[in-house]
């Protein structure tokens, strides 16, 4: 049989044919994809690094679009934008009609500066989006057209999203104002003001419209209102949402969990979480959180160590000195050591040199009261009330603010800022006469108070104008 030449020639021929077919198949076989890109993660803190590696390993060997998109999301959160871009590219190949993939590719393209690609992907995403997400896609689309200075397309995109997405409506109004099409912008701004009367950005936009119409008095009113407005519309919604997303990963996730423990009164667990995060990478925020937990737990000595290291590494601030002083005060009580209280006072005195004070004047007032030094106690008590009042004024808690300012000037009638803000409150309450008196008092105390002088002069002008406009009663 071995010698049967014909038989073996036939077998060989079949083999050659089979091999040709096999290699032909290999030649023509579909492209085998690479695993997802793996960035250099050496810049990450150990906690984030470890989590990123886990998510990466889940994506290796899979051809699931959602998994690759999720990896792209993590890469975006950690700033690996080119790697995220590649992941999205492959995910889109796997599932060309997946809204989440197209939307995220748009986000990545936006961050990486591939503006045309971002426009392409947000357009595709909008076509695929559930009704509730179309407005958001239009908003991002409009923003990217703005980056290309393609104002016509930007306007179209904002218009498309205006009905369902607040940020798109605001962006449309803003664009129209900037294009000097104030008449078209006004109804949109009015609708925004009706829905969000305290939105600082809408109020600022309304002020711009008033200025464009040369109605400076109306503009001033909108500016005053915006001073107490609330940030309901973010100037960069994408950056804002990415910051929120970052808290779902790695070290930040740990910090959020620790904060949740802290808010439930589990200070020990919270401290452990913050401490782990801080050991993973030292940061001023984590050191601060650890110190605050030490205070809650009564670990004053430990808290002092953490705060002193924080100050050595990141400088003094009013809050750090305030809490450091408090730690010394409590330690002085615990150890019955009056010298520690002196240290606390030194820190609190130092804290008053800064802006952004919280309770430090109150602590000093209590201390001096205990010492029987009523003058100093009153001085600090008045300043504490004034600080509180300004904070409440900014937070639109006007009745509380008024109470605080009245209490402040009762103790120290020479507090010019308190008079100024009492005048502002009177203006809000539509009481120009009382406002004028308070501005006047502020100027008597601080003759160079520019804002008080400007407001008083406006009030005088308005009063003159109104008296000129009033019919003169006949004798």
């Amino acid at each position: 049989m071995i010698r049967n030449r014909r038989l073996w020639a036939s077998i060989l021929a079949i083999e050659v044919l089979a091999i040709l077919v096999f290699f032909g198949f290999i030649w023509q076989r579909p492209v085998k994809p690479l695993p997802p890109p793996h960035p250099d993660v050496s810049l990450l803190d150990p906690i984030s690094k470890s989590e990123l590696e886990t998510i990466y390993q889940q994506a290796v060997g899979t051809r699931n679009a959602e998994t690759w998109r999720d990896l792209a999301e993590v890469y975006t959160v950690y700033g690996y934008f080119p790697e995220a871009d590649i992941c999205c590219y492959h995910a889109a190949k796997m599932a060309p009609n997946n809204f989440d993939v197209r939307f995220w590719w748009g986000v990545v393209s936006d961050r990486i500066g591939k503006v045309d690609q971002a426009i392409e992907q947000f357009t595709l995403a909008r076509d695929l989006a559930p009704v509730g997400d179309k407005g958001q896609c239009s908003y991002h689309l409009g923003r990217n057209y703005l980056r290309n200075e393609d104002l016509e397309q930007a306007e179209k995109a904002f218009r498309a999203g205006a009905e369902s997405y607040l940020h798109a409506r605001y962006s449309l109004a803003k664009l129209l104002v900037e294009l000097n099409r104030v008449d078209e912008a006004k109804p949109i701004i009015e609708s925004l003001l009706n829905e969000h009367p305290d939105s600082l950005r809408v109020l600022q936009l309304a002020a711009k419209v008033a200025i464009a119409e040369n109605d400076l008095a109306a503009a001033e009113k909108y500016i005053d209102r915006s001073e107490r407005g609330v940030e309901r519309i973010h100037s960069d919604e994408l950056a804002f949402s990415l910051i929120g997303l970052a808290s779902q990963y790695g070290r930040q996730k740990l910090v959020v969990a620790a904060a949740a423990q802290g808010s439930q009164g589990n200070f020990q667990q919270a401290r452990q979480g913050y401490q782990r995060a801080n050991e993973s990478r030292w940061s001023r925020k984590m050191a601060w959180n650890v110190a605050l937990m030490d205070m809650e737990l009564g670990n004053y000595k430990q808290g002092i160590t953490v705060l002193e290291e924080l100050i050595a590494r990141d400088g003094e601030t009013s809050q750090r000195l305030d809490v450091l002083g408090e730690a010394y005060r409590r330690l002085s009580i615990k150890n019955n050591d009056p010298k520690l209280l002196e240290k606390a006072i030194t820190y609190w005195q130092a804290a008053t040199k800064f802006t952004n004070l919280r309770d430090v004047h109150s602590k000093l007032a209590n201390y001096y009261r205990d010492q029987g030094d009523e003058d100093r106690a009153n001085y600090h008590q008045a300043l504490q009330l004034q600080t509180l009042g300004i904070r409440q004024f900014r937070d639109s808690k006007l009745a509380d603010a008024q109470k605080a300012f009245f209490a402040a000037i009762k103790i120290d009638p020479k507090l010019a800022h308190s008079w100024y803000y009492l005048a502002e409150l009177a203006l809000v309450a539509d009481n120009p006469e009382q406002a004028a008196k308070a501005y006047q008092r502020c100027l008597e105390l601080t003759p160079h108070h520019g804002r008080a002088a400007a407001k008083l002069s406006q009030l005088k002008l308005a009063s003159t104008a109104s008296s000129e406009a009033s019919p003169v009663p006949a004798n």
């Binding site: 940030e231 800022h417 160079h448």
Partner: protein
């Protein structure tokens, strides 16, 4: 016939062996064929340039830190009037204003001008009280991070011999980013223009000097994000005007034309609808040396998201003044994450070159440029040359002749708030030594 009948049998063993060997060979060859893949090409948005042929000697001012530094401003000035150039530094990590005295042997001696100023953003060196020594007006942010509360201040460090006395010129105000001095109302004393950057709310002010450290504020403009307010005669009418770069909600440059008595008319001279261009400041300079004051606009602030990425429109724009205060904008550099610019004759050829530093280049790539200089050919055609790739995260720059050789040297400051983090070279220096590589 027999021959023919026997011949198949003769070749049979050979064919038998071949029939066995061929599949084995095919198996081996198949194993050696690499998998068919398409390499992914990563997008690369980092800015890198040709290394400078003009030589620089790198050094640094001040000691390394125990935490990544946050230097917000550097100024090159002969602060003690000894004919040697000194450097004034705002340190927002230590909350201090420092000045580094250059000694005759070229070393730097550190002096503390002020502390407990949270996040000083800018030091304006000026003889504010006219007593023939240089004081410092410090613009205090109060918080380096986004904050819309009244944490800002304007503080005058009055120089009295070797000591400085702090006077608060403005408080109950949001984050203050810049101040400049000049006689705005023609009464012979120095008034101030102030940029209240704030965050979501801010304003531009001018402060009228009433003497003895008393200043009255006047609001010129209400908008958040004003970074710099350089003062000069932009419209050529002989009085000081104010320019302002507004960067938060809008990307605009405004001029406030002064009638000489402190009455201002505002006008916008530049605007882009590209909200993401990232205006990072404004620098006045007669770049083309035609006798009027032009403006340089470094663009590349991308810090709304901490892990930023260089954008294709980052770089530097030149707003060329026609002498009457009308400006034409021209792009003169494309460079990712640019945060500051200054002009100086770096190569000593008589024209003004530009130093640009980057805060937000792609630092994951170690060869991304952190500082470049733009060589002027005398006709305002600029060629970019890379000076260094590290230290990274440079946020402020100033040109000045540190070694009195007629060429401008470059001093920068680092704001190292994102990886890669390191504690070294808070204030890097590049001495222009010339010569080709």
């Amino acid at each position: 016939m027999n021959k023919h009948a026997q011949s198949p049998k003769k070749g049979g063993p050979l064919l038998f062996i071949a029939a066995l060997a061929l599949p084995a060979l095919a198996y081996v060859v198949h194993g050696a064929i690499p998998p068919q893949v398409v390499e992914d090409e990563l997008f690369n948005g980092a800015s890198k340039f040709t290394p400078s042929k003009h030589q620089f000697e790198a050094s640094s001012i001040g000691p390394d830190r125990n935490t990544p530094p946050i230097i917000t401003n550097v100024q090159v000035v002969d602060f003690n009037n000894d004919q040697l150039t000194d450097v004034v530094v705002c340190d927002a990590r230590k909350n201090q204003v420092l000045w580094y005295e250059q000694t005759p042997d070229g070393k730097w001696q550190e002096h503390l001008a002020a502390d407990r100023l949270v996040a000083p953003a800018h030091a304006t060196v000026v003889d504010l009280d006219g007593d023939n020594d240089l004081d410092i007006v410090v613009s205090v942010l109060g918080n380096i991070w986004p904050d819309d509360t009244d944490v800002g201040r304007l503080v005058w460090l009055e120089r009295e011999g070797d000591k400085f006395t702090q006077h608060i010129l403005l408080d109950d105000v949001r984050r203050v980013a810049d101040a400049t001095a000049g006689d705005l109302d023609g009464d012979g004393d120095l008034d101030l223009a102030v940029a209240v950057f704030g965050y979501a709310r801010g304003k531009v002010l001018w402060l009228e000097n009433h003497g003895e450290g008393n200043f009255q504020e006047h609001r010129l403009f209400y908008a958040s994000g004003t970074i710099h307010v350089p003062m000069d005669d932009y419209n050529g009418d002989g009085t000081l005007d104010i320019a302002a770069i507004v960067s938060q909600e809008d990307e605009e440059v405004w001029i406030f034309d002064n009638d000489g008595s402190g009455n201002f008319q505002s006008r916008m001279v530049f605007k882009t609808f590209n909200y993401d261009i990232g205006s990072a400041g404004i620098v006045k300079s007669d770049l083309d040396q035609d006798g009027d004051v032009d403006l340089l606009l470094p663009v590349g602030d991308n810090l709304e998201y901490m892990l930023s990425y260089p954008q294709p429109y980052h770089g530097c724009l030149w707003l060329e003044n026609d002498g009457k205060g009308n400006f034409t904008d021209k792009r003169i550099a494309t460079y990712g994450g640019v945060y500051a610019a200054d002009t100086g004759d770096v190569d000593g050829d008589g024209d003004l070159d530009i130093a640009l530093v980057s805060m937000c280049n792609d630092w994951k790539q170690s060869d991304s440029a952190s500082i470049i200089w733009m060589e002027n050919d005398g006709q305002q055609n600029f060629t970019p040359w890379q000076i260094a790739t590290n230290p990274t995260h440079l946020i402020t720059v100033a040109c000045g002749d540190l070694n009195q050789d007629g060429r401008s040297d470059i001093v920068a400051g680092r704001m190292n708030i994102s990886p890669p983090l390191d504690n070294t070279r808070p204030v890097p220096v590049w001495i222009s030594t010339g010569g080709a590589q």
